[in-house]
Structures are given as C-alpha cells and as structure tokens.
C-alpha cells in the first residue's frame, strides 16, 4: 500500500497578526518558538505513522499559510482552489495554486462571488462530500462543486461561530464512521449527518472546544490535540488509537491538527 501523502507548511511565519475568528486575539498572540516545536511534533508524529509529508515554503506576512487544509479541495488530480472570505487569507491563494500546479494537479476555481474554504469545509465520508456553510463557505459554492465533481454534496449549516469550519466539528474516520460535535450544527444538519453516516461518535463540548474534532486520521490512528480524553476512550472502543500532540499554540488561531494538514491522495474515509 502506498504511503499517505500530506501537505504541510512549516510554522516559521505563523502568528496572530489579525482577528478573523472568535479564537484569535492579537493581544494574547502566539509564542513562536513553542508553535514551531508543536508543529514539528505533529510533523514527526505523522512521519512515524508512515505519512509522506510534502512541504510548502512558508511566506512572511502570511501567518495562516500554515493551515494547509484551507488551500482547497483535492479530488484525484483535480484541485479546487479556495475562495477565502477574508482578504487576509485571500493572499494565500496564489501560493497554494502555484504549488498544486507545479505538482501535477489541475487547478480549478469556483465562480466569482462564491466563498469556499477548501477541505476546511468539505470532507468526504464514503462517496458523499459533506460541506459546511454559512460562516466561511457558501452553500451555492458547494452545490456548484457537486456538479463539477459529479458526486453527492450535502451542505450542512454551521451555527456556532467557534466552529466556523466543518473540520472543527466533524471528522470522518472511515467510509461509514465519523466523530462530530452536534452543537455546531442546526437540526437539519444533524439529521443529514445521522441519516447518511451509520456510525457517529459524539464529541463532548469541553473537548470540542479544544478542537478534538480537528483530527488527522491515518488508518486506525487518530492524531488530535492533547486533552481529548473522553474522545480517546470512545475511539478506543471503536477500534482506533488516539495519539495526542500538544497544539495549543495553533488553537489560539482557531486551528489544530487537521487544519495544519491537507491530504493529497484522498482521506482514508473517502470513497472516490
């Protein structure tokens, strides 16, 4: 079996330089050395799991380039580039697009005026692409994506600003299994998830707030921020092993393990 491939971007220029979600506080800031160490720990953990890491060159003035999950959506050799809501992050797009173009992907864009924040808001569970909308991405963009992919795309509304991307409150583990924090979704969204995913593991609010759902899944290993004890126990019951990495410096920016990675060869949970 081929090694999983994941795109990361070193945290050399990471910091809290603006505030575009409820987690960010310039006053509090991030500790650069500690952040770089935490990023390195995540990197090394993934390498130990057999992941082949691709690295982007960090860019000064683009502190969030480290969150590669938001670059776009990878589907085979097609890369659907994000249209970021905030101008601060729109500047990242040329760098992501250049990387994907240089690495054999066809770079595709959604129509003008439609916001879409990549794998942050679009996650395959089985053959279905679940897509978060309202806070960062538009439902119309997801519906457009469904046409482009010829796949079923089910937009689900996110109603809690703390969980502004789908990957902060939902993480597919396998084609029929996922973890989620129900409070981040409206009743329609919860119904859609419950109807289409046979096994759903609920994450408690206390751990969801520590980004327990923002996990990287490699086979039966789930890499999450430290302190997700309840989830670790639940995952063990379900046959998974939870690997904790301290990532609190990135939680200050509203991201964790999953946000720092972008799977290039399709998530384990995706059936294409």
């Amino acid at each position: 079996m081929k090694n999983p491939r994941i795109l990361m971007c070193p945290a050399d220029h990471y910091g809290i330089e603006y505030e575009i979600n409820p987690w960010m506080s310039r006053a509090r800031g991030a500790a650069p050395d500690r952040a770089r160490q935490q990023w390195r720990d995540l990197h090394d953990t993934l390498v130990k799991l057999g992941v082949q890491i691709e690295l982007m060159t960090p860019q000064p003035g683009l502190p969030d380039l480290v969150f590669t999950a938001n670059a776009g959506l990878v589907f085979g050799k097609r890369f659907f580039s994000s249209r970021f809501t905030h101008p601060e992050r729109q500047r990242e797009t040329p760098h992501f697009d250049a990387w994907f173009a240089a690495h054999g992907f066809s770079v595709e864009r959604l129509p003008e005026g439609v916001y879409f924040e990549g794998a942050g808001d679009a996650l395959f569970c089985g053959p279905i692409l679940f897509a978060g909308y309202r806070i960062r991405s538009h439902a119309a963009g997801h519906l457009h994506l469904g046409n482009a992919l010829q796949r079923m795309v089910l937009p689900v509304e996110l109603i809690d600003k703390r969980f502004y991307h789908l990957d902060t409150c939902f993480c597919p583990l396998s084609p029929d299994e996922a973890i989620y924090f129900p409070g981040a979704f409206d009743a329609y969204g919860r119904t859609v998830l419950q109807k289409h995913i046979p096994k759903l593991i609920e994450v408690v609010e206390k751990e969801a707030e520590r980004f327990a759902c923002n996990a990287v899944v490699v086979g039966k290993k789930v890499v999450v921020n430290a302190g997700s004890d309840q989830l670790a126990a639940d995952l063990q019951q379900a046959g998974y092993e939870c690997l904790s990495v301290e990532l609190d410096e990135f939680i200050k920016a509203g991201g964790s393990a999953k946000c720092l990675t972008l799977r290039l060869d399709g998530e384990d949970a995706a059936v294409w």
Binding site: P127, A139, A140, M152
Partner: protein
Amino acid sequence: MAKTKSFVEEIELQGHIIDSLLLPKVLDEILTRGGTYVIKEIKLGKRQVDPSFTRIEIKADSHAQLDDILHAVHDHGALPTDQKDCAYELADMDDAFPERFYSTTNYRTQVRLGGDWIDVDDQEMDCGIVLEVPSPLTPLPEGEGKQMRARCLPMVHVKKGDPIVVGHQGVRVMPAETAARTSLFEFMSSAVSSEKPKGVTVREIATTMKRTKAAGEKILAVLGPAVVHTGGVEHICELIRLGYLDVLFAGNALATHDIEQAIFGTSLGVWLDRGLPAEEGHEHHLRAINTIRRVGGIESAIKKGVLKSGIMFECVQHKIPYVLAGSIRDDGPLPEVITDTLVAQDVMREKVKGVGFCLMIATMLHSIATGNLLPAVVKVACVDINPATVTKLADRGSQQTVGVVTDAEPFLRALVAELKS
C-alpha cells in the same frame, strides 16, 4: 377576504437539495418569514449522484419582507433566476404595434424594468404594453424601474414612437390563483350549470356585492333588454336605490324598452302587468325613442317630466354613470347611444376602472365586450337563460365568471331580497 401577496420573486436551487434537506429548509425559511411559495418546477436526480433542480416562486406582503426572505434563502444556496429586463421597440407607425408585440391577457401582469418588477396598469386582454420611460433608447439603470409605468394599450391608440414591449422576456403573468379574492366563489367551481341550487348561488352573489361595496369598489351591471321584458325593471331600480349599482353598461334596447315601459307600460308592445300584447303595441318602442329624441335626450326628458320612472330615470336621479353602446340593428337610436364602436370601447374602458364586481344579465354581446375589458381579478356573475352565453364568455378568456342559468326577473327578485336581508 384573502390578502394578496403582491411582491414576488423567483429563485432556483440546484444540487443534492433533497438529501441535504436544503429544499425543506428553504421552504421553511419562506414560511417562517411570513411568505408563501409555489414550486414552479422540480426535477429530481435519477441516480444518487445526480443533482436535483427546482424553481420556486416566493410571494410576500411587502418589499421588505421579500428582501428578508431572499436574503435568508440565499444563505442556503438559493439564487434568483437569471432574469432580464423586458425588451421593447418603438412603434414604427400609428394605430398598429411592432410585429413582435407582446399580446396581453386579462391576468395581472408585471414587466421588469431596471431590475424591478412593476405592475402593468389598466390590465386588459388583447392589448399591447406601452412603457412610460424617460428616454426610450437608453437602458434603465438598476433600481430605477420603480419610478416607471407600464400600461395596457389598445392597438388603435398606438402612436408612432411609443415604446411597446416585444417578446416574452421580462414579462410575467400572475397565475389566476394569485389574484385577489381567490377565496370568493370557490364553492362554485364549475363555471355554469342549470342544476345548481339557485338560492345558494344568489346568496353568494349578494355576499360578494356587499363585500365589494364595503371595500369601496364599484359594482358594474351589464344589462340586456330581457331584464325589462321579464319584468325586472323595478328590481334594478331597487338595486340603484340601495346603492348596489355604481355603473351601468347597456345598449339601445335596454334603455328603449325601459323608457317604453315608463311611458306606455309595455315592453316590446306587451303589457307588463297583464302579459298580453297591446293594440298597436309594436309601435311603442319606436314612439318612445322618438319622444326622447324630440326632447333632446334622456336627461332632458326627465327634466321636462316626460320620463318619470324606470332604470334610466333612477340612473339619472342617482347620478349613476351609464354607457349605451350602439349596434348595427338599433332602432333610433336614443341620442345617448354611442354609435362609434371605438369611442364606446374607450368610454367603457374608463368606466371599468375601480370596478370590483360585475353583474351581467341577459346580454351576450355586451357581456363579452365588457369581459374583454375587465382584468381577471374582477369577479363576474353572468345570469342568462341560455347556458351558452356563460360558456362563450369563459371561452373568450373571462374565466373568472360564475354562471347562473335562470330567467332575469326571478334572479333579480331573489337578489334584492337577499341584499335586503
């Protein structure tokens, strides 16, 4: 009375809108914000990966409510349908439309100008639409449309240079069910039948007339001479005195026989009290016309004490406007009869403004002519001994008509009794 939701916009939603529950969610949003919807089109994906598509018409009570709904559903991926302003050409000659003119119906119609939908005034079937735009040759800027006007224009009134709507782009017709007062007459779902309980029908017509009067709208009566022949004059006079008749359309015959009765006591030479023909009675109607012509007209005859009763007398006494439109077979005619058909049409057009209910009794051609001028929102009751009259009216586009197959006088007697109860 059902409230009309006048502010309308169409949206499209496509994708996996069933499995994602986006369609029920959008519909819920519309309803919870006080709007209503009509699903105009829906195509369901056949396989799981196939997207579905729907086109939904949203209706609201105000512009602000509509905006609120559109804003809410937009967040769920619903987009306004791709719409364009209506197209128009300048009339290249008087008295005729450009070749591709849009031909109107009697249903409420809107045209899109500068991105806004505006109502077409003076709604009438078989007309064109003329725009009142500041500079016909420059496109309207977005948002400017609300200040513009559009109205139905009969062919004979076209003037060279008039901006006339062409094609169907940017024109929408409100389906009948969206028109005002849909709740009325609903029980009479089949247009005409001789086998319906007349009492119920008459009661409903009386109720509608009371509501129309209460709403400050006018009641129009279109009457044929059989109203007089059957002895219905006094009932019409009573309707006028009770305030249930605001405008009268008729021909030379109704007025002539009404005056004949007032002067001679006969209608077409038959004594109305005895039902027997009067001696030399066949001359009565012509003598009546002659008398009126000799004194210079109906009003003059009343002033001089020649005419002292009847429908025309009551109309003048109560200042009820009437239009007597002529026909080729008219005797006389009476001086008030308008013999130029196009002039008569225009006067009738003017008088139907503000009419909320129309009662047509015992006249086929005047009923059809009036039906042609009335917008579909005006409910019509057509009373005739011949079912074909009502059928013809409906077949010519006046589908808002409810028919009552009965003789004129018994109907009117029951109606007056019902209105007084």
